[in-house]
Each structure stands twice: as C-alpha cells, then as structure tokens.
Symmetry: D2
Subunit: 253 residues, 4 copies
C-alpha cells in the first residue's frame, strides 16, 4: 500500500466525523493514511508524513489556517468543516491562484444520497404544479426545519421562479395555526420530530394524476464516508475551488 497515490492526512481525527474518516481511508485500497492529527498537533506532521491530500474535519476556528497550509504546500484538500464565509472563500481563492494545480473541495454535506436528492428535487420542481417538503429528524434537534430542507426549498423555488411556474395551488381558508407548515420562498416545509429517527427528507411533487417523491434517509454518520472518499479521489484532477460535492457528481444524463 506504500505506493498509493493518495496519501491522506486526516485533520480532526479525534472528532466523530474525523475518526470515521480515519477508518474509511484505512479501508480504502487506493489510499494510505499517513497522518491523523488531533487538536493541538503541529501541522508540520502533515508534510513530514509525505501527505498528498488533506481531509479537514476540524472546527470553524482552525479550518482556514489548515487549508491555507495545505494549499501553500501543494496538497489537495477535502473540507467538511463549516464556517467558510465570503471573506474566507475570497482569501482562499487568492491562495489557490498561486498554486494553479491544487484542488480544494468545500462540501457542507458528504452524504451522496442527500446531495443527489437535492439536485433531483431542484431539477424536477419546475415540471410539477405542486411542491412541498416533509423533513423528519430525531427529537433532540433544536432548529426546524433543517438547514438541508431550507436549502432544498430555496433551490426548488429558484428553479420554479426562473421558469415562470406559479406557486403551488392552495385553497386553505381555515387552518389551525401551523398546519400548513413553514413557508420557505413559496415552498411549504413540514418538520416532524420523532424518537428513533436520525435525519430524513421527503420532497413531494404533484400534478394532475401523478406524484413524484424523492426521499433520503440518513441512518448513520457512516453515510458521509463514501462522499469523503469520492472527494479525495476527484479533488486532485479538479484544480481550484469547488463548492459542494455535486460539482464532482456526474449528473448530466
């Protein structure tokens, strides 16, 4: 395995996502795990270990410095940490301009199924008269609807607006408060909280005589790992900054 072309350093290896990534990289036949850094470890260990790729699954406070280090040393980076606002992204683009062969993927969501479901929902939304979303999560979640559901609704609404699709028909005159859900840019979004569940989303599209349903179930953090590995395998051939794993998926038909 020492000749693997993808030599990976995992940053944030002590966290929940990071420790899964360590296992996933170790299990991948075409990769070698050369370093696993925890909070406080020196970044120099990355280069000393001869890494070619970095996976950053740390915290918003340190992710920018980690990625800059990788880019400056010519390493490709796959980033799952949040906190990349406009300013940070701009600085990163400037760094990348100096290293035209380096690729960076920043992805808010590594679950392939979730990324595909959002893309399909956005594509299909303009072809149906009605569109709503039901998301279902464990009852410890503090926000409703989920961030993923809000983003999916925004993508669907934008596509419908752009193609002149009228808002979903709705004759409701009398409702118990909240019955019709939250309204995110004309898309009604319903949030179910149920013990036993993890993270689930159902996009419902309807026209006269037919319904299309796109559902994604996330049962376990393990679902993020195929996306992380796909990122690692692809990032080296995609110089510059890519935002969202869908940029690496082959969604043309």
């Amino acid at each position: 395995m020492s000749n693997a072309e993808i030599r990976v350093a995992v940053l944030g290896a002590g966290g929940r996502m990071g420790s899964e990534a360590v296992k996933a990289v170790q299990a991948a036949e075409d990769m070698e795990l050369v370093a696993a850094l925890r909070r406080g470890d020196s970044l120099d260990r990355i280069t000393e270990a001869g890494a070619t790729h970095v996976v950053d699954l740390t915290v918003p406070d340190s992710t920018e410095e980690n990625v800059r280090f990788a880019v400056q040393h010519g390493l490709h980076a796959v980033v799952g940490t949040t906190g990349w606002d406009g300013e940070r992204l701009q600085r990163l683009e400037q760094e990348l301009a100096q290293q035209p062969e380096v690729g960076v993927l920043i992805a808010p969501n590594f679950a392939l199924g979730s990324v595909l479901a959002s893309a399909f929902a956005a594509t299909a939304a303009r072809y149906f008269e009605s569109a709503e979303i039901v998301e279902l999560h464990h009852p410890n979640k503090v926000d409703a609807p989920s961030g993923t559901a809000v983003r999916t609704a925004e993508l669907m609404a934008a596509s419908r607006r752009e193609h002149g699709v009228a808002p979903s028909p709705d004759a409701t005159e009398k409702q118990i408060e909240g019955a019709r859900g939250a309204v995110v840019e004309d898309i009604h979004v319903h949030a179910v909280r149920l013990r036993g569940l993890v993270a689930h989303q159902e996009v419902l599209l309807g026209s006269a005589g037919e319904q299309l349903t796109i559902r994604h179930d996330s049962f376990d953090r393990a679902s993020f790992m195929p996306g992380v590995l796909l990122g690692l395998r692809t990032v080296g051939s995609r110089p510059g900054l890519t935002h969202g794993l869908d940029g690496y998926l082959d969604l043309g038909f």
Copy 2:
C-alpha cells in the same frame, strides 16, 4: 334475486355518494335495490317497494325526517349524512326505544381502511415515546388539518393521557413559523396540499430504535362502498343506535 333478505332503498340517489351506493347495492349478490329516491320524492315509495333497509345519503336538512320515517316503519337504517348533533341523536334514541328490534348506524366515515387506521393509531399511541400525524390532500381543500386528522389526534392524545404517557419529546428552540405543524392536544399534525392527491393520512409513532407507521390512502369515492355494504349486512342484527362503523368491526384480537 327477488328473495334477497336485504331489500334496500337508497335515499339521495341523485348525489355523488348516493349514485355510488345504488351501483354497489345492485352489484351485491345478497341485496336487492328496491327503491332509489331523489330530492323531492315521497318517502312512501320506500314502504311501497317493500324495503327492509334504508341508506340515507342526503343532506343535513332532511336526514332526521328520513331516518325517523324508517324507524317508525320498522326499517333498519345506515346513515352517512352529517348534521346529527346531540339533540337529534336524543330524539332518535327515543324513537328507537319504541322499536326495540330496529338498528340504526350513523357513520361519519365509511372507508374501512380509514376507520381501521384510526382505531390502530389510537391503540398504538400509548406504546411509543413520539407520535405525530401527516395528512395529505388535494389542494382544493379549504380546512387544514383535515377533520379526520384532528379526530385521530384527539383519540391518540386521550389514550396517551389516560396511560400517563409524557408528551412527545421536542427540543425545538428555533423554528420558522409553522414548521412544527399544528398542535392538537399535544400531537403535532402537518397538512400537505398537493395536486394529484385525494385524501391520505400517515400516523408516525417512534421510540428508541423503531418506528411504526399507519398510512391510509383514499383514492376514490368507491372506497366508501364496502363500508356501506358492511353496514347494511350488520345493522339488522344490532338493534338500537350505533355510532361509527368501528362498532361493527371485529377489532378484538
């Protein structure tokens, strides 16, 4: 067929439900349709035709007079018309006391599947930590949630309260208004409106590691007819007033 024991007069035969009932009775091998009355027809036609049973699918204004006529003439009645408030029911009970062999069924819902789904939901609700309802209807519906969903929630809540089950856990701190649905006696109820749908209801029950879902789909008015026929076949052996088709279902295990 002239020896059928169940000789049926359909009242309201010109309406949507009534015309379905006419067809259903004609197709039933153990029944004979002896009269089909429309608005304005004299009730005497019922007795002249030798009916033993009456199906009332008329309007709130005339249903009481129709049923009283049936009871006074010793005929069993299956009633799907709404508008039976406490006063009317009391007067009916008094009539029935004079005719101890006559049975009357007043049922707000003849869809067997829907009646079963409500009964199962009420039974199961106390065994799970979390309970919510999602109902889905065509977009021309004016009220949300549906009356059936509200009644189901009330039945579930009553059973949970009676057995000391705590409210469903919910850590929501931050929500877009309406995201968590309408709250009907501690049960969250979500109403989806989608072109292409008719009338659907999903009861979701969850505990650590498991989920039970009870879903009923009503695609067509035809779904009410098996319940009407079951009512006609049973009402003759159940003297007095029965409220709700579940009174005729064998739900003991």
Copy 3:
C-alpha cells in the same frame, strides 16, 4: 385564440388517451384545437384545418401512415402510439431528411414524473452499493414486472456496469421460491398487485448508513397530458426525430 401558433390536430380522438388530449389542447391557452380525427376519418382534414402540429394517439397499424402524412406536409408530430420498430424508424428518418425543419417526438411514456424518475434512477444507481425496484399495479395487469420497471432496471444496470460497480450484495442462502423477486440484469425487481392501485414504482438505493428512494405514482391518465403539451410546445424547435420525452427535459444541473 385563432392566432395561436400551435394549431393542433388530434388523431385517435375517439380513444381514451386521444379524448384526454382533445380536452388538454382545448384548455391550453397557447394552442388551438383545429381537428379531432377518429378511426376512418380522412387525413386531408388535417391540412384543410390548417394544423401546424399533429398528436398521434392511434393504433400501431395506422401510426406510421399518419406520421408520414404529417412530415410530408411539413407538420410537427408528437406520437404516443406504440409499434415503432427499427424498420419503421429508419423509414421515418428518411422522410425527415427531406423535411429538415420538421420535428417528430416518439415517446413511449408521457408522464413527466415517470420519465424524471427513470432518469434520476439511472443517474443515481452507480453511487450506491445496493439497488432494487418495487413496482406496484392494479391486479388486472397481465405482465410482471411492468415494462417500465424492466426498462428502469436495464438503465440502472447499464450505468452500474459502465462504472464498474459490483452487483448489490446479497447473502441469501435459503429462500422460499420467488422471495427475492425477478432478476433483471443483476437488479432485483419485485411486482406487487393490489386492488385500489393504478401504476406505481419505487427505486430503492442503499449504502452504509443511507437510503435514497425515488417513487413515482400514476393515479390517472390525466398525468400524461402535461407531457403531451410539453411535447407540442417543444417539437417545433427540435427538427428531426427525438425518441423519449426525456430528450426535451432540462436534466442538466
């Protein structure tokens, strides 16, 4: 409405699909129904009425002659009739070569949701470890699985093969005959037959920790009309032969 640019002749107007098409064209604001032909009517009525577009919803025996007539007279054609084998298609291509501005769409399926569901399934299949199909239909259907399910399985299998995806894992050693369904090119396909249903299909994709489900429900023939109208609106700008409505859908992301 006499200035509508899309002046439509419906062929097969006496059939079930044709009569729906007549209503759909009449209801469309940007179209005018100029002729509705039934079996035996002369095709000359199409040109006499000044049609610019033809919808062919007839029978395999007459569809080729109908479409040839349209092409030769410079009219665009949307075709839902089956029976277009390789030879017929070849002859049609030759006709079209003589009329470089004419467009013809031959579509085996006009339900937008069904076409989208198949396309999404084919796209997603290569990203998951496991893939199966459950199709559900009314119990009068004579073949199992449905043609749509077989075609969807073939598309999914082809994509998985092309990208080197291993067959879905399956440790089954002991089964009651038929339990694991029909095997269509490595994809297991299960056919449910249930009174009350029309035509439904569920594509199930799974990897460690996640599931993606793409479900299409067809409740009514009305579901084909948006696809017919989309065909009519698009065919004039797509010269030559297009096979499958997906050729007109914007599926790039």
Copy 4:
C-alpha cells in the same frame, strides 16, 4: 432504589441483547439490577442476589435449565431466547403447575412496534380484497423472506380463510421468474435486501379506491428494550405461561 419491587437478574449479560438489557434495567426507575450473569456463572447467584425476576437472553442450549431454576425458586421470568419447542413448553407448563403464582413470558419478538404491526395486519387482512407483504433487510441476512414476514403472512391468511375472503385477485399471465414474490398461504411476500437497512416490514392492503399500509422499521437493537421492560412490569401479575408479547398488550378497543 433498593426498595424496588422488581429486582432483576439478567442472564446472558455478555451477549448483545443481554448487555442492552442490563443498561435498560439500570435506567428504569422502578427496577433494580441485582445480578448480571454470563456464560458459566452459577445460577445460585440469582437467588443469592435476592432477585424477584429473571430475564433470559442466553442460548437455546441453556434457556430451559435457566427458566426451570427461576420457576422452582418462585421467580418470574421473561424469556427472549429461541429454541422452545413443544416438548420444552410442555415440561415448563408442568413446572408452572407446581408454582401457581409464578409467571413466565416467552416472546420471540420484543419490539412493541413489530408486535403491534403484526396484530393490526392480522385484524385488518379480512376487510380488504388484496393483501401483500414487502419486507426489507440488510444484505447479510441469509433467509428470505424473514421469519417475521412469514408469520405475519400466516396470521393474515388464517384470518382471511376463516372469514371466507377470496384470495387476492391477480391477473398475471406472463412473469419473469420470481417477480410476484414468494407465496405464503396465498399471501405474496417480497424480500428486499439493501445495504444501509436493518429490519423493516410493510403490509399492504387494498380495496377499490383505498389502501391501508402498516409499516414497521427496526433501526436498532435498542427497540427491543421497551418490550423487555413491559414484560418485566407485567409478568408478575400474569401467572402461568404467556406466549408472545401481544398477550400483554391492551389491543381491545
């Protein structure tokens, strides 16, 4: 907690189910865990610890001896181990005849949702024209369909037979082998195997115009613990042998 009336000894505490039971009993406010025995531990530890109840989650080879020990010492027993054939049950009944106050529950399934789903399916099956089952499991399962699905089908078929319900209609003339699933006493059962899943079952019931679906999802072994606790809380008041957790559920309406 030392005054808890339910003083529990868990047998098989080193196994997967047993270790979950240890945690569940410890977390229950009305119980006390007084002993946790592993393979090879002396049964005397149960009585020395002052247990009032025993949970047996061991192996077929030792379960009979364990339960006999409990009964002979006047302790109530909740048993999840398999292997209780007719002979063993008969010997157990004889033991119990000597100890008229002792209760024993032998349950093949402790997931409340699953037990309820089976009971509801059996109750509802006779009211619908069509009935089928789809079960879905992880791909490491060796048998298809699952034992639970076979038992559910048998219960449903028995109820339909008893009430003279005709077999589900099915016009299939031409099928790819296996498409219509396994046939268990006239009920078609389909087995899906998908990475990411655990254990799921969907009972589909249909009549003209309506569908009733009863679905149970088992995501995690944790789902068995509420049933084990319910068993422990109830077994003391139900002398003699009870087979199946449904005997303790309040399923009358």
